[in-house]
Amino acid sequence: MFRRVLVANRGEIAQRIIRACRELGIETVAVYSEADADAIYLRQADETICIGPAASARSYLDVPSIISAAEIADVEAIHPGYGFLAENAHFAAVCQSCKIEFIGPSPETIAAVGNKAQARAIAIAAGVPVVPGSDGTIPDEETALRVAQEIGYPVMVKASSGGGGRGMRIASNEPSLLNGLHSAKAEALAAFGDDTVYLEKFVEHPRHIEVQILGDKEGKIVSLGERDCSIQRRHQKLIEEAPSPALTSEMRARICAAAVKMAEASNYHNAGTVEFLLDQNGDFFFIEVNARIQVEHTVTELVTGIDLIKEQLRIAAGYPLRFTQDEVVVRGHAIECRINAEDPARDFQPSPGLVEAFVPPGGPGVRVDSHCYSGYRIPPNYDSMIGKLLVHRGSREEAIRTMLRALDEFVIEGPKTTIPILRDILDHSDFKTSVHDTGFVERYFGAHPAISPRELG
């Protein structure tokens, strides 16, 4: 096992990785920007190194600074967490050339699955169902119009290097397709430096289902069941759960098998996620691979009892998987709520600053992953997620009740948070009966969010 690992991230995922390392007896080196100098999780690292100013581009995204820190701290491996450099094939390759183990898949796999068109081609070749669409990228307007004709409107223009909803356009007729094609290209070029796009049928009222996979370096791959992440706002997940109440056990077996096939075809090792859309007929379509640990890996940990970060470290250190597919058992139901410092009443605008009071809920069935505390100052420079509140109970109904009481207990004074809207979503009959889809949040909590007035505290 590694003796010493550098954590190339911040916030709750840096804390999560430090926790796993401590439990495995691995020393940790935490890097931080000046904006995070006060973060309490830094106290748990064996060594901390300031790598730059608040701006991510000069700290958490700065490859030379992080590699340099890894070299002077003499680590054997780097855990990139999620975001920042986690899916940067170049960074993974630099690590490799510096003889530092990158805790994640190979640079080649990251590059291959990171390109959406290429990932789609891999899926088709592996017999994994994909959303009907173009064979590869769209070279010109004529091809776009022809493909749209074949698959039928509405269609979606998607950037090959896209993500987070950027470089995406929906079109329901020819003029809007041509418009969307050009604006998606322009946006993708600006955001990702790559203006290639492809075309897909727009799946109406889908569920977002993703499958967690783990693969070792000997090529053995298992799935750890699915997560249902259909509660999203502008493609940002708000609530995730496992197992998905939308799947029958027969559908679950098929979608998990498809995920394993996709991972195999990508020569995948370490932890990853294969994302699918599930349509109203119960058909599912591959959409993308996330070649990293995800925010919501925690719900899978709760229902399987498997510590995914520890497994990532073991796999990266060269150990074979410690369990077979048959030994993975999903028990009970887990739900995660993302606690963001955002004001749901003002279009979710970020609400950084001093956290005057922070009293997390506890008790049976509750897990809190947060780097926040009373007196913490949320820096305005990064993601607004300040914590993840999770519950694990015997049934979905029980889990919802536990989550509601936990949200009610959660005291955060100072910044505005997503707690009120999370509460309203969990209490909504469509969510309780699980008839919701990915349009649920915009439909019911769109322009004028129906947030009930809440008292202070």
């Binding site: 300031c50 100013p53 030379p64 701290a73």
Partner: protein, 159 residues
């Protein structure tokens, strides 16, 4: 003695609006004297005045790795003394090679363009310029030390 102690004390002071604090721990051979001014409205960390004296029995304080770039001995520093801080993470070298003379030993007269040291990061030797005028007063880091972003390297008498 750990700089985390200072960080924690400062945090407690800030939370409780304490403006001045003195601790003498004879067992630990330690004296701490902290003063806080009004916090500026601007972001970034306030610059508290920290006066840290190691007692006779205590080891000298370690380099400030792992702590925010505090300014030790700020009170003792005259207003005409400037700091040259590290613009990157890396390894600090006083000279271009083991055999060469140091770029900037104590007493060296500087202008903005004077090279004061080399910081090696990812096998690249980065020449660091003084970016101020004056005379080297103290070298705060040993040859071969690892330095982090913002860490003070030299004190410079500017007047």
């Amino acid at each position: 003695m750990d700089l985390k102690l200072i960080r924690n004390l400062l945090k407690l002071m800030e939370r409780n609006e304490v403006t001045e604090l003195e601790i003498e721990d004879e067992k630990a051979g330690l004296k701490v004297h902290l003063k806080r001014g009004h916090e500026p409205v601007a972001p970034v960390s306030p610059a508290p005045v920290v006066n840290l004296m190691s007692g006779a029995a205590a080891a000298p304080p370690p380099p400030p790795r792992g702590a925010e770039p505090a300014e030790p001995a700020a009170e003792e520093r005259a207003p005409d003394v400037a700091e040259i801080t590290s613009p990157m993470v890396g390894t600090f070298y006083t000279a271009a090679s083991p055999e060469a003379e140091p770029f900037a030993p104590v007493g060296t007269t500087l202008d903005e363009e004077t090279t004061v040291c080399i910081i090696e990061a990812m096998k690249v030797m980065n020449e660091i310029k003084a970016e101020c005028r004056g005379e080297i007063f103290e070298v705060l880091v040993e040859n071969g030390d690892a330095v982090e972003y913002g860490q003070p390297l030299f004190l410079v008498k500017t007047a």
